[in-house]
């Protein structure tokens, strides 16, 4: 496993070059610069058009009103933002987004941590289980949502059938405002499990076996080894999964668009869905951009907090 980030670049190598005459050295250096430019140009050009320019354009759009074709018709300053910050729907969508994150991220990480721990053994056939656990990674949000739509069907779906076997009354998984967000969260946890499992498993595989052996000699049981050794040693992986999953949860859109369209009663109206509605259904690109920027700041602040607070607890070898 490649352990560390190698930051020191090629300096050492290039200075070892045989020195020819100073003149050819100089042309060489220029050639190198030109080549570097040629090599970087495609990426830089694309980033400028599709990342940096739109970032600035978003800020500009957020301070204007637009027509349905996206042309700016009126400068409104910060009104889009103040409108949002006084709108109940906007706060509702923030609450929904945060609840969605709380429902999906910790659950997913705990489950995949357990799965990775179970699959991190030398049992015969464990490869097969590893493959099964990582399968959801290959499922796209489009297909995953349709599968769950069928499972969640109120009268003919299998989930309600299983409940009826247990003599539990059927649940309107997607049309009951109390259940809709939970149902979306459940299918999201399932969909994310594969990726989280893979990252955590490869984290565990990076820990040297000697540590476990010595723990065993000391007489530590499997549970104690798990909590006192495995978890602290793979904190870098756990940290990575947490940050990535949280950012992913903020961006959840496909399952909501297919399964509930933000309803019932806005109970699944997460911020990204609200942005999509504003910008691409109601053609209000201005407020859409303003919301997107606010979302960006929320994500940024939460990510920074995670880095500040959690990373101190992360144990890098």
């Amino acid at each position: 496993m490649e352990k560390d980030l190698i930051i020191q670049p090629a300096l050492k190598r290039t200075t070892l070059l045989p020195a020819f005459s100073t003149r050819s050295m100089r042309t060489n250096r220029w050639l190198e610069r030109i080549l570097a430019f040629v090599f970087l140009a495609p990426s830089l050009l694309l980033f400028s058009i599709f990342l940096f320019y739109p970032l600035i354009k978003s800020v500009y759009l957020s301070m204007n009103l637009t027509d349905p074709r996206g042309r700016v018709v009126q400068y409104v300053g910060l009104r889009n933002f103040t409108d949002l910050l006084t709108s109940e729907l906007f706060y509702k969508s923030i609450t929904v987004t945060l609840s969605f994150i709380l429902l999906t991220v910790p659950t997913g990480i705990i489950l995949s941590l357990i799965l990775a721990w179970l699959a991190h053994t030398r049992l015969r056939g464990v490869q097969l289980f590893r493959f099964v656990f990582s399968l959801p990674m290959a499922i796209s949000v489009g297909t995953g949502s349709i599968i769950w739509m069928v499972l969640y069907h109120p009268t003919l779906g299998t989930l309600n059938y299983f409940l009826s076997l247990l003599h539990i009354a059927p649940i309107n998984w997607l049309s009951d405002p109390n259940w809709a967000l939970l149902s979306i969260a459940l299918m999201t946890v399932w969909m994310n499990l594969g990726f989280q499992f893979i990252v955590l498993l490869s984290g565990m595989q990076g820990v040297s076996e000697d540590i476990y052996d010595s723990a065993q000699i000391d007489g530590a049981g499997p549970l104690r080894t798990f909590f006192n050794l495995t978890i602290p040693l793979i904190t870098p992986s756990i940290f990575f999964v947490t940050v990535v999953s949280m950012i992913g949860a903020f961006q959840a859109f496909g399952q909501i668009n297919i399964l509930t369209k933000g309803g019932p009663m806005n109970s699944t109206n997460v911020m990204v869905f609200n942005i999509y509605q504003d910008a691409f259904v109601n053609y209000r690109f201005g407020t859409g951009s303003a919301q997107a920027l606010l979302l960006f700041f929320i994500v940024l602040i939460l990510t920074l907090i995670q880095f500040k607070v959690l990373e101190k607890k992360v144990h890098y070898q």
Binding site: A10, V150, G157, G288, S289, L293
Partner: protein, 274 residues
């Protein structure tokens, strides 16, 4: 080490139960896709079809142009993947081996682009593509994703781990950078390039929001959007919808089988210690 302590059988049992829970939605999908209309509409729901009935797959192909959707997704994901490999490997080479002013700054800039969330820039990007009259075109689906900061980062890390003596030898033999890049660095980094390839192909095969925004014509839809068309047209017969779902899943499942190993290694190397 857990093994010695715990009953082996118990561990297998737990693994098996977990596998069943995770697999259930997929197995149910597969099984329903072979049911007849009557079988799929019964209550209590059947778990297995009475026989393998391929009719649903035939009608999926007749109802929606699913092969066209798969073709579209294949073209789009493959071109994005190849594009990312080209742009990321050249940029990574520049960052790893070339000396030029502003290198640190540019590298930091590249890394910073990974922080920009897609939602913030999607509205202007949509407007750009619209202004260029690229709605409903392959170019419009592909071009915003051809450069990848993640890919550049991943490849740079792996380039820097190649043995330095090789380059010195090549230099003394009079090889220029372009030749070193093409005939040394690229072939030696095939594992990392494969990782980037699998990762990028899967990601863009599964892309949902962008194709939803910029394609309206049926013949330009990608599988992920196309498959939700089935949902609206044929919501009464699940067996058919689920046959469509299975058809769409097959390519990504195959890729996962082939690409799981390099992917695991790549994610660990590139991202974890970032």
């Amino acid at each position: 080490m857990i093994m010695n302590r715990m009953n082996k059988g118990l561990l297998y049992l737990v693994l098996l139960i977990a596998s069943c829970l995770i697999l259930f939605p997929l197995l149910y999908t597969l099984s329903s896709s072979f049911m007849t209309n009557g079988e799929s509409a019964t209550y209590p729901p059947r778990m297995l079809p009475s026989h393998l009935n391929w009719d649903n797959y035939m009608s999926v192909i007749q109802t929606i142009p699913v092969l066209r959707f798969i073709g579209n997704s294949f073209i789009v994901s493959t071109l994005i993947m190849l594009g990312q490999i080209v742009t990321a490997s050249t940029a990574a080479y520049a960052f790893a081996f070339l000396r030029f002013p502003g290198k640190t700054f540019l590298f930091a800039l590249f890394l910073a682009t990974m922080m920009i969330p897609w939602e913030v820039i999607m509205i202007p990007n949509y407007l750009t593509i619209k202004n260029w009259n690229l709605l409903d075109s392959y170019t419009g689906l592909i071009i915003p994703f051809v450069a990848s900061a993640f890919g550049t980062f991943l490849l740079r890390q792996s380039f820097l781990q190649l043995p330095g003596e090789l380059f010195e030898a090549a230099r003394i033999d009079g090889c220029g950078h372009v030749r070193i890049f093409l005939s040394l660095v690229l072939p030696l980094s095939t594992p990392a390039i494969a990782t980037l390839g699998v990762y990028s192909f899967l990601n863009h095969w599964n892309m949902y929001l962008w194709p939803l925004l910029i394609t309206n014509k049926e013949e330009m839809r990608t599988v992920q959007i196309g498959i939700s068309m089935l949902q609206f047209e044929e919501m009464t017969s699940w067996n058919l919808v689920l046959a469509g779902v299975v058809t769409v899943m097959i390519p990504s499942l195959l890729l996962l089988v082939l690409g799981l190993k390099p992917l695991v290694r790549g994610i660990t190397a590139g991202a974890l210690k970032g």
